[in-house]
Symmetry: C2
Subunit: 298 residues, 2 copies
Amino acid sequence: MAERVGFIGLGIMGHAMAQNLLKAGFDLCVWNRTPGRADDLIRAGARGASSPADLASRCQIIFVCVSDTPDVKAVILGETGIIQGAEAGSLVIDMSTISPLATREIADLLREKGIYMLDAPVSGGSEGALQGTLSIMVGGEPEQMERAMPYLLAMGKSITHVGGHGAGQMVKLVNQILVVVTGLAVSEALLFAQAGNLDLAKTIEAVAGGAAGSWMLSHRGPQILNRDWRPGFTIDLQQKDLRLILEAADQLGVPLIATSLVFNLYRTLQARGLGNEGNHALIKALEHLAGIEVGSQR
Amino acid sequence: MAERVGFIGLGIMGHAMAQNLLKAGFDLCVWNRTPGRADDLIRAGARGASSPADLASRCQIIFVCVSDTPDVKAVILGETGIIQGAEAGSLVIDMSTISPLATREIADLLREKGIYMLDAPVSGGSEGALQGTLSIMVGGEPEQMERAMPYLLAMGKSITHVGGHGAGQMVKLVNQILVVVTGLAVSEALLFAQAGNLDLAKTIEAVAGGAAGSWMLSHRGPQILNRDWRPGFTIDLQQKDLRLILEAADQLGVPLIATSLVFNLYRTLQARGLGNEGNHALIKALEHLAGIEVGSQR
């Protein structure tokens, strides 16, 4: 029997995910800091709540999808937070991307009240959220993941249990290292190709199928050639995740030379007011250093 | 009607490629600096030649697959080189990976004698050479590429014309930038995952299908977890190609920060005597800096 489901955080990602839960027929209650974002969901059959605590008192499964570590702490542990309303036995599932260390601390505090937690950050962007095809990386107790599966399947396609509390967040950060440094590979390769006066579309076609291939090359490469900087994921959000990575790496004592390099290159783009562009605009930082522009007259 | 075909350079790659030409039924003549490498091909029906010039005097289509720019110059322009024996109208196809600038110079010198040239470097490694599934990036005149197609199809699967003389070499170098910097992404991500005590196989599984995915992650990631350093492509050969890239980048005036970083990291592995290991052993350079080892007890 399905439990009552709550969803906190109706940004671009959370709104689409809540919509998919509603479409799948679950009894849904929603809350957002800016109330207007809930209106259409309520018209479509969701119930509204007056606070995270209010929502938690009425649901057994409580999803959270907000921006950063302080926001998650506020809606879970704050004065009107989930922890003030949730009954023992409830399950909080945090789909935000936040600090793995903070995740373990929050899970410990919830456990003291008999409340379960999973960290379940996602990849796949706003497109994946809309289509219900997100990849979801789950950390926490396997039994709780089993309990959450019917709801997760309404939002995602590939759902993987990767370890204990915080492991989902750690794997998400690994994902982001791969995304940005592979993006650096694509940027540097296209810059070199441009300097060498190559036909860039043909170049991508010739190499994408082999050992040089990547999702970033096949999907963002052509977008770069068209100088289409619309975001699948913005530089500002990418920087938030890189900050989490570098903070975790510092705590773990592991050097991340390439990831730090990308963080600093993105900084230069933020300084130029380009934080709202897609993360593939990384190449603009290299173009600026090289004094050439990809896609310009050959 | 098929023309007579010559093949110069019977190393691991060239030997396998010559074998595929022979299997496809072409009339083949071979030459190698160390003659013993030709023995089994001659037993299987190929004819031997006493020098590149001798070979060139008997063939209209002359393949070259040797190690580096000086080797190509020696077999094409040297005292007993192709240029001394080839008739006007012959076609020289260089499948080595060498300097794009030197390629254009060689093509100019051959053209003065009425000899055509294509640069046609390959990717896909020794496995691709054996199976006849190489990717071949062709620079030069399109009509000459048409002429070469029956022979190229015996050796490769994806054959792309990418531009004029030297463009094949340039695209190959773009390919190598992507390979090594994407490899750096994989290395840094796995190192971070190890430091964070994650299950690395599960981690790869969770992220490989999305925006973080790459050929290097899917193919070399699992090999790294098994600490299997057998080469698809050795560090020493990779360094030769990186040197060509950095030399070309210097001539073109374009900075390549990440590729330079990888070149220097590989240097540290060569200094430790690891030049014969596969290019995915790059992670050992990061492990050395971090003082941890991927795949060790968690």
